[in-house]
């Protein structure tokens, strides 16, 4: 038998050293994921030069950042909902209602109070989603899908089928103007990403959301007001979606009743590609931002190839699938599981 002799202090020290290394590798895993997403975007942009010389230029990068601003804002809210183990399928309708409220009631003069009120209306709708999930115990995707239908119908009724009105000036300024040669919205989105990251990863609210997402029962036992806390992400998600509607109004100077449709799945995909588990309790907003940029880059490059819409969607879908398989959190958590201490 293997009789160990010698002093035990050194054995313990060896072990301590080993464990410290394990801790640092834990940080690396998350970083690797985020770096991979951003690097993929960069590679895609560079490669796109081979498709068309117009692609890959500085202007092209700015355009991609502008276009990804919609997805970044949208997926912040969606990311928080996913963080607590939910899913928000009402985002397309809220994009529409946000845009419709901004064009129907907003004008250059009253935008300063109409837009905030409209955002509050959206948040309220989100709170109803949250209440349905928390109080009535309705599964999140059913609750949000149902409210999505209500909200879409309300938008239809409000506009009689064709939304009229133009974008308030402030929205056009946000989406179309440049400052020092860079679109205003790029500054905005950088700020939004920083604030979003702080909210999710550095605040007490964010901490509680992670806790609920990881282990709801333990969160309750630890003394967290799970019900109230869990409803908040739905309100934030709805407000984010409403704001995306307003951004779209500013970008295209008007609202349509279908303008939210193409954002539902990319909004979810950005979160998951960014390294969050679809089951909740993990991920970081920085990763989500990377995911949103990657998806937007992909869309831009593919549409530049000039294929038919049908093929384009198939290619886009396949690439998203591959990205999800390669970048998903489970892959890393699987490794982590095997890393478990004996």
């Amino acid at each position: 038998m293997n009789q160990t002799t010698g002093n035990d202090g050194s054995a313990t020290d060896t072990f301590a050293h080993v464990e410290d290394r394990r801790a640092s590798s834990g940080i690396d895993r998350d970083l690797v994921n985020i770096v991979a997403v951003f690097a993929l975007s960069a590679v895609l942009i560079l490669c796109s030069r081979f498709v068309s010389p117009a692609l890959g230029s500085w202007n092209q990068v700015l355009t991609i950042l502008t276009l990804s601003s919609f997805l970044i804002v949208l997926s912040f809210g969606q990311g928080l909902v996913i963080l607590v183990g939910g899913l928000d399928l009402s985002t397309p309708s809220l994009v529409v209602i946000g845009g419709v409220l901004a064009t129907v009631y907003g004008s250059d003069g009253n935008a300063f109070y109409v837009l905030p009120i409209a955002l509050c209306v959206c948040a309220l709708i989100g709170l109803v989603n949250g209440a349905g999930v928390v109080i009535l115990g309705i599964p999140p995707f059913i609750m949000t899908l149902a409210s999505s239908i209500f909200v879409a119908s309300a938008a239809l009724g409000l506009t009689g089928g064709t939304p009229r009105g133009n974008s308030p000036e402030i929205l056009a300024f946000l989406m179309k103007e440049r400052w020092l040669g860079i679109p205003v919205v790029v500054y905005f989105v950088v700020l939004f990403a920083i604030v979003g990251w702080i909210v999710q990863s550095r605040t007490t609210l964010g901490r509680r959301l992670y806790a609920i997402g990881v282990n709801r029962e333990a969160a309750r036992i630890a003394g967290i007001d799970v019900g109230l806390t869990e409803a908040i992400p739905y309100a934030i998600s709805a407000a984010c979606a409403g704001f995306v509607g307003m951004m779209l109004v500013g970008y295209s100077d008007g609202a349509t009743l279908r303008m939210g449709d193409s954002y539902l799945l990319p909004g979810i995909a950005a979160v998951v590609i960014g390294g969050s588990s679809i089951l909740g309790g993990s991920g970081s907003f920085v990763g989500t931002v990377g995911g949103a940029i990657l998806l937007t880059t992909l869309g831009t490059v593919i549409s530049a190839i000039g294929l038919d819409q049908g093929y384009r969607t198939i290619i886009e879908g396949s690439i998203i699938l591959v990205a999800l398989v390669l970048l998903r959190e489970d892959l890393f958590s699987g490794l982590r599981l095997r890393n478990r201490k004996a």
């Binding site: 038998m1 293997n2 009789q3 160990t4 035990d8 054995a11 313990t12 072990f15 301590a16 080993v18 464990e19 410290d20 290394r21 394990r22 801790a23 590798s25 834990g26 702080i198 550095r202 605040t203 007490t204 609210l205 901490r207 509680r208 992670y210 806790a211 990881v214 282990n215 029962e217 333990a218 969160a219 309750r220 036992i221 630890a222 003394g223 967290i224 007001d225 309790g281 993990s282 982590r336 095997r338 890393n339 478990r340 201490k341 004996a342």
Partner: protein, 511 residues
């Protein structure tokens, strides 16, 4: 160590590393046919990894294994099972949403026509297994609805039904207070020539069932000893690498003050029946009971996790309507609850240890809602010292810690809340000797500083040495209360099995 007879199971020089972490290094162990062999070691010594290697869950980096003389290298848990090797896992591995019968028969449910499985034959086969191993469970019951002890028994029975050559029992008694049933099963398996590897922290139990023991420390096999010829101190010494300091010291002093901080009167739930008692300032009040006598309900209803039918709870003399653990924290001087199941009710696996500890009071280390990492680290560090948790663990994910360190962190969480009443449900469940001492010390310190502790333990020596008073629950009622020197195992056991239940004298004689 020379083996005259051929070993049933033999490992030679088994090593396993996960990246930089060495979990096992050059471990050798041999178990004869019909031998019950104990595997001892502190948490994190490598026991679980060795179990996983033997069970085909992980492949070793180096080393050889053999089973009755033939080379044995399972590539999966099913591969191991085909060779007659089965494990009853410490972290139960049953599928909660399936029935008892389905759990027993998986992965191969008895087939019916058209590739479907036959429900009738599944139940029939399961009933036979349950009967053979003397476990009276309804085969059609969903596993998720079973009590924890029943789930553990089912996990054990499933292992027995598959393990014909080597049976590995990893902490099989962690939630069983009645071990006779298990020992009968082991005895039968032993007679049938099955080799049994038995892992437990309870040395008394190990001594009564095992003949030899192999001690692991820091991933190495230290030695294999005949249990008859090795006293406890020698074994502790091999486990921790130094001689065990002191064992449990006896009764702590009387509580300083006699003011009741928590009084419960006529508390009645679905299981509890008019439970009344008082907890005083600076007191350690123990709860002793066989499993399933309402202790779980008692603790959970005190913090609002279980519905109260009637009765009242007063904290600091004021009636408190507690509906959630959050409410319990906010009542009077505050009550914090340490739950029964570390994994499902306690830890947040992907958060750091520090975040796990500060979570209930994370607002205290934040300004304007933004958490200050340095303040969090300092606050967590201070409390970590109280429960003897090394500060270097704080930035790790809590899931990377051993069970004992996780438990220390969870105890630290209840202390951090600032609550002056701690409700600790089996605080030393499945942790090693060293960790137990740290937990006892932390509890004592807490009460010496004027805190009050209500604790349940499945291990009687813990109650006899820690508690100043002790309540005995039986059938949802308090049947006896003991104080001071009267708290001794024999008295407790008598009350726990309920044989004094009908004697009128014992009722209402407490508080």
């Amino acid at each position: 160590m020379s083996e005259a007879r051929m070993a049933s199971v033999e490992c030679r020089g088994v090593s396993k590393s996960y990246g930089a972490t060495v979990a096992l290094e050059d471990v050798s162990i041999s178990i004869g046919p019909g031998e019950v062999h104990a595997l001892l070691g502190e948490n994190g010594a490598g026991k679980s990894t060795l179990v996983k290697v033997l069970g085909g869950v992980v492949e070793p980096d180096r080393g050889t294994m053999s089973l009755t003389g033939e080379p044995y290298a399972p590539s999966s848990i099913l591969g191991a099972r085909r060779c007659g090797v089965a494990i009853a896992f410490q972290e139960l591995s049953l599928l909660q949403n399936l029935t008892v019968a389905e759990n027993l028969c998986l992965p191969k449910l008895p087939a019916a026509k058209a590739g479907l499985f036959s429900r009738g034959r599944t139940i029939e086969k399961a009933s036979q297994i349950l009967a053979r191993f003397d476990l009276p469970l309804d085969p059609e019951e969903a596993v998720g609805r079973l009590s924890l002890p029943d789930r553990q028994r089912l996990e054990i029975v499933r292992a027995f039904s598959h393990g014909t050559r080597l049976l590995i029992l990893d902490e099989p008694t962690a939630s069983l207070s009645d071990v006779d049933w298990l020992f009968r099963l082991i005895e039968n398996a032993r007679k049938a020539g099955t080799a049994v590897l038995y892992i437990s922290h309870r040395l008394a139990e190990v001594r009564s069932i095992c003949s030899r023991a192999t001690v692991l420390r820091n991933g190495r096999s230290i030695d294999t000893v005949d249990l008859a010829g090795a006293d406890d101190n020698r074994i502790f010494e091999m486990m921790v690498g130094r001689s065990a300091k002191k064992t449990l010291s006896t009764h702590a002093g009387k509580p300083k003050s006699s003011g009741a901080v928590l009084s419960v009167s006529d508390l009645t739930t679905d299981i509890l029946d008019s439970v009344s008692f008082e907890l005083k300032e600076g007191e350690i009040l123990g709860v002793a009971a066989l499993e399933g006598q309402g202790q779980r309900d008692l603790f959970r209803s005190l913090v609002g996790l279980e519905k109260r039918r009637s009765g009242s709870i007063s904290v600091d003399g004021k009636v408190a309507d507690i509906r959630s653990p959050k409410g319990a924290l906010a009542s009077g001087r505050g009550m914090a609850f340490l739950p029964e199941e570390r994994k499902t009710e306690g830890i947040f696996a992907s958060l750091t240890t520090a975040s796990n500890m500060t979570l209930p009071v994370v607002g205290n280390v934040a300004s304007f809602g933004v958490v200050s990492r340095s303040r969090e680290r300092d606050a967590a560090g201070e409390t970590a010292d109280v429960v003897d948790l090394a500060r270097r663990y704080l930035p790790f994910r809590i899931s990377d810690l051993s069970g004992g360190n996780q438990q220390k962190a969870l105890l630290a969480r209840t202390v951090m809340t600032g609550a002056r009443i701690l409700l600790l449900f089996d605080p030393t469940r499945g942790v090693d000797v060293g960790t137990k001492q740290s937990i006892y010390e932390a509890i004592r310190q807490f009460t010496e500083d004027g805190g009050s502790v209500l604790f349940y333990s499945s291990e009687l020596p813990e109650i006899t040495s820690l508690a100043q008073r002790c309540l005995v629950l039986y059938g949802g009622r308090i049947v006896e209360a003991f104080e001071g020197d009267a708290i001794e195992e024999q008295n407790l056991v008598g009350a726990m099995i309920g044989h004094r239940e009908d004697s009128a004298a014992s009722k209402g004689a407490y508080s």
